[in-house]
């Protein structure tokens, strides 16, 4: 019995080594990024080992999650997709009904042991659903398909925005939209849709919460409210700008160490990074992100079917949205929204949901086309 188990274990490990179901370059990029995240967190948290240990444990958990999910073939994922999507939308409705209110927004679902945000699930189930819908359809998508996909995106995104959680709503709708974009939607259709969306902006402004409007206003003129809403933007820019080309050096960022920079372990951790490692560090990390996204798109191109392609591509491209929104926010270019810097910001939910996505990518990689 034990011998048999041992034999199976040895065989499993050997197979993992000889024919890995994960993409080594992508895994390498992610591990490198996670390491940068831990190093930055060490400095940003002032050497708080409990935080670093927790984050490292989450990365390990996430790694195991990647391994496990990579064993699930995409075809099986595709079969589950409608149910997963319907389930996560249901949970969103439950949150809207009985969710727990934390700091003014209703995002959390308390399951007794753990509490989590169902909106995080949508970050993955949304592109899955769009890919599932477009998979059997004639591509490029027709207006009818576009409208259906638009509905699929709008309903959960609207629920999330209502919580209110603009950052997640943005990420979720971006993931869906990227799938639509990658499916080959005609340029003129994209153009006219963007025009419509552009025309809707003033209407959307009307529906924004006052605090969200203030964030936009503050972005336009942070010095108008230097101690209130502008404080984040000003202090973050000071941190970034004072870093210069080569940075102040690891653990020498005064803005975060002396608490001038708010949220310096979570949303604004990239300001700490920029302050301590300078423009050189920023370019390095941007190259790393570009590499990871490029690798995702390469995996997508190599994928066996439409569903896999669209899913992998959408996951990779929404990774960019994280980087762009967070990086832009830290640099005072975009309003303050709760989007973390992927794998650098401290926090469990985003790390786990991100790595789940990469698990799906690994699965798609493992089931790629067989080249002649």
């Amino acid at each position: 019995m034990i011998d048999e188990l041992q034999v199976r274990l040895v065989r499993f490990i050997r197979r993992l080594m000889t024919r890995p179901r994960i993409d080594i370059p992508l895994a390498f990029g992610l591990i490198l990024l996670a390491s940068v995240g831990l190093v930055t967190l060490y400095s940003a948290s002032g050497g708080n080992m409990a935080m670093i240990g927790g984050q490292a444990a989450r990365f390990v958990m996430g790694g195991v999650l990647v391994m496990l999910i990579s064993r699930i073939p995409p075809s099986m994922l595709r079969t589950w997709t409608p149910w997963l999507f319907a389930g996560s939308v249901m949970l969103l409705l439950v949150v809207a009904g009985i969710g727990e209110v934390r700091s003014g927004s209703k995002r959390w679902l308390d399951l007794g042991v753990v509490s989590f945000q169902p909106s995080e699930l949508l970050k993955l189930t949304m592109p899955m659903m769009v890919a599932w819908y477009l998979h059997p359809r004639q591509l490029p998508p027709s207006w009818k398909d576009i409208v259906v996909v638009g509905m699929l995106i709008a309903i959960p995104a609207g629920l999330i925005a209502e919580q209110p959680d603009l950052g997640t709503a943005l990420l979720v709708s971006a993931a869906g939209a990227f799938a639509l974009f990658l499916s080959g939607m005609r340029w003129w259709k994209i153009g006219s849709l963007l025009a419509v969306v552009g025309a809707m902006v003033p209407v959307a402004w009307h529906f924004l919460h006052e605090y969200q409007r203030n964030r936009v206003r503050t972005l336009l003129d942070p010095e108008s409210d230097p101690l209130g809403n502008g404080w984040h933007i000003i202090q973050s820019q000071i941190a970034v700008g004072s870093g210069g080309v080569f940075g102040k050096g690891w653990q020498h960022g005064t803005q975060s160490r002396l608490d001038f920079l708010p949220e310096h372990t979570t949303d604004f951790i990239f300001a700490v990074f920029s302050e301590e490692f300078g423009l050189v560090g920023v370019i390095g990390v941007m190259l790393l992100y570009a590499f990871i996204i490029g690798r995702c798109l390469w995996i997508a191109m190599e994928a066996r079917d439409t569903y896999s392609r669209l899913l992998a591509g959408a996951i990779g491209m929404s990774f960019f949205v994280y980087v762009f929104v967070n990086g832009g926010m830290v640099a005072g270019m975009l309003p303050v929204v709760g989007v973390p810097m992927p794998l650098i910001s401290y926090g469990g939910t985003s790390a786990v949901s991100l790595l789940t996505g990469f698990g799906v990518l690994m699965s798609i990689y493992a089931n790629r086309k067989i080249h002649k």
């Binding site: 700008g241 608490d259 798109l297 669209l310 960019f320």
Partner: protein
């Protein structure tokens, strides 16, 4: 249906389409990341200097360290103004949730005046939220103990040590040294904000005010690293403050004490000046007040007490009160007669008891009924013969009289190193023209000849004139401060060159007037007042009437108490007559006769001065703690160089022994 759709689905075409889209997408993503990099480049390279500065300003805050105020010593190094540690209650406003409630609650623990609250609220507006603001200064031990028990109720409040000013001699030097008090809102607009950062007190009166610049010193600062809550993390660098300079007065505390005691509480003033250099050896105004009460905010009761007191203890009579000088100006007038060539010493005048202007009804009296007979200049000074001086004034005319007296310093500031000096009035045609529609009358010239009428002088002015005369005409601006000393260094004398050329051209003329003034002491109005004094004294009494005569009848009431209500008593004198070293003026606001009432005060000042210089002690001297020299011969005691603090070597080498270390310490 689904099958049919699938059959027409172009899988290969889709893959190609996807490939293109993925590449376009990736290109857009690279573009997006590129935009980010450009933005970071903009912040980190182009605007780096600006943000680096702002980051540094965030982090590093300068904090002022107030300097320790200079100490004030008397001539021989006795401490007159000291810095002593005390405790005050301070509030950090940002740590107090409900300020009005806190103020209401703390009053039950530590009693607060409304003035405390007012000062606190004023300073509150001028300070940053995280800077502590003093709420009450100079806590008593009882208050500290009560606060300690209740401390938990008052977050943001703390008892903090600081240095406060103390005047060990209290009222004795109140009018000279003055006092410091808390900086108020008006001061903040007047003072250099950078120099006074962190300083809580400023010189308010007396030398504390006049020498504020010298005493204050230069603040230091330290650069501290603060966090976003402005909590100090560590001190980066410290620049020690420069403590204020110490002052050494010309006054000897023993002379000052003797002069004050001589008044026995009667309102008046006395000033003693060294004719050789203008050093003020004593300056007294009676009654006085306790300057210590003002330092940390005087209570309302104390203040109204001082303000309502009939004898005005807060008034510096020596400096600010001007009264008619009476007969004390006669020697100066006589000298003027000689200098202007109007009189020769041997010219005589017949005094019959009454002097009438030729062709007018109005007559002016001598003090003695029937007059002093035929008097020359010396005798006229000795007997204070009014008629002699009526005529002299008349012959001189008001213009020359005013000009001559002006050259002796009357009618203008003496230039003493103390602010707030009164000018008095030296009457002249011009002066009257600005105040009256009437022209100058001859009668006014006549009464000016005996120091009456419009003419008013301060005791300081008269002392200055007496000293100028005693010093053979060379004027010196009176100086209270002899030297200043940088902490731990030897005092450096302040130069005091003559303020002008001698007003006496021929030494012989001086001798004549001096002879008259010596005669005042030996056989004149002050006969017997200086019996037994080891040196020759020359002087002049003055009894100025406080009210005009209404009838031509002689007032036969000789009751001294009655006369005191009608007269001001003056006495001026200097000694030794052959080479004067001290000139003294005493004024009693209500004295019957100049010689008998003010004269003894002058004598006591001179005796104390003599004792302080180590000279022979006259038999009547009752001063304690004065080492008597065995020698009984009235020889001139050896004097230390006039412009150097005496007993300097006897002074503690470290003049800040009671002061804090150099870095200040006033938190």
């Amino acid at each position: 249906m689904a099958l049919r759709r699938r059959s027409i689905k172009n899988t290969r075409g889709e893959a190609t389409l996807f490939r293109v889209r993925a590449m376009v997408g990736f290109a857009l993503i690279l573009l997006g990341l590129g935009v980010l990099v450009v933005r970071y480049h903009y912040l980190q390279v182009q605007r780096h200097d600006e943000f680096a500065l702002r980051s540094e300003n965030n982090r590093v805050k300068p904090r002022a360290i107030p300097p320790a105020r200079g100490l004030i010593f008397d001539r021989s190094g006795v401490l007159l103004a000291d810095n002593v540690p005390a405790f005050r209650l301070e509030v950090v406003p940002e740590q107090v949730k409900d300020l009005p409630a806190m103020l209401a609650a703390i009053r039950e623990v530590v009693p607060l005046d409304d003035s405390d609250i007012d000062a606190f609220k004023k300073q509150l507006k001028q300070n940053r939220r995280f800077d502590s603001v003093p709420l009450k200064l100079h806590l008593t031990e009882d208050e500290i103990a009560r606060f300690a028990i209740n401390r938990w109720r008052f977050p943001g409040l703390d008892v903090v040590p600081y240095l406060t000013r103390r005047y060990p001699y209290g009222p004795l030097f109140a009018h000279v040294v003055g006092y410091v008090s808390r900086i108020d809102a008006d001061d903040l607009t007047r003072l250099d904000a950078d120099r006074y950062k962190g300083t809580s007190h400023v010189g308010r009166s007396g030398l504390e005010r006049s020498y504020e610049d010298v005493l204050h010193g230069e603040p230091g600062y330290e650069l501290v690293e603060v966090n976003a809550d402005n909590r100090v993390q560590r001190v980066l660098e410290t620049h020690a403050p420069t403590p204020g300079k110490n002052l050494y007065l010309n006054i000897d505390v023993r002379v000052q004490k003797a002069a004050t005691d001589a008044f026995q509480g009667r309102p008046g003033s006395a000033v003693a000046i060294d004719p050789r250099n203008g050093q003020v050896l004593a300056m007294v105004s009676v009654p006085s007040f306790d300057p210590n009460l003002f330092v940390n905010g005087i209570s309302k009761a104390d203040y109204t007490g001082y303000m309502n007191a009939e004898d005005k203890p807060l008034l510096n009579r020596a400096l600010k009160s001007a009264y008619p000088p009476g007969s004390t100006v006669k020697p100066f007038l006589a000298l003027g007669g000689l200098e202007l060539g109007i009189r020769r010493p041997e010219d005589t005048v017949l005094s019959t008891g009454e002097f009438c202007i030729p062709g007018q009804q109005r007559c002016y009296r001598d003090d003695t009924r029937g007059g002093d007979g035929t008097v020359n200049m010396v005798r006229a000074i000795e007997k204070s013969t009014n008629t002699y001086f009526y005529r002299l004034a008349l012959d001189m005319g008001i213009d020359r009289l005013a000009s001559w007296m002006g050259s002796l310093g009357f009618g203008k500031k003496t230039g003493i190193d103390l602010l707030g000096e009164a000018e008095g009035i030296l009457p002249s045609r011009e002066w009257k023209a600005t105040r009256s529609k009437f022209p100058w009358f001859q009668g006014e010239t006549i009464i000016a000849g005996i120091g009456q009428g419009y003419w008013t002088v301060t005791a300081l002015q008269l002392a200055h004139a007496t000293a100028t005369f005693a010093g053979h005409g060379t004027p010196y601006a009176p100086r209270l401060v002899m030297a200043t000393a940088v902490v731990k260094e030897h005092p450096v004398p302040l130069p005091n060159p003559p303020s002008g050329p001698s007003v006496i051209r021929k030494p012989h003329e001086w001798e004549v007037v001096n002879q008259g003034m010596e005669a005042v002491i030996t056989g004149g109005t002050a006969k017997g007042q200086f019996t037994g004094f080891p040196f020759v004294v020359a002087g002049k009494s003055g009894t100025a009437e406080r009210f005009s005569r209404r009838t031509n009848d002689y007032d036969n009431n000789k009751n001294l108490a009655y006369l005191a209500t009608r007269h001001r008593a003056w006495f001026i004198a200097y000694t030794p007559a052959e080479a004067p070293r001290i000139a003294v003026v005493a004024m009693l606001e209500s004295g019957a006769w100049g010689a008998s009432d003010a004269g003894p005060i002058v004598r006591k000042v001179m005796e104390a001065w003599l004792a302080s210089t180590g000279g022979p002690v006259p038999p009547t001297n009752t001063l304690e703690n004065v080492p008597a020299t065995p020698s009984s011969t009235p020889e001139l005691p050896e004097d230390t160089p006039v412009a150097t603090p005496a007993d300097m070597s006897a002074m503690p080498a470290d003049s800040t022994s009671t002061a804090p270390p150099d870095d200040g310490g006033n938190p």
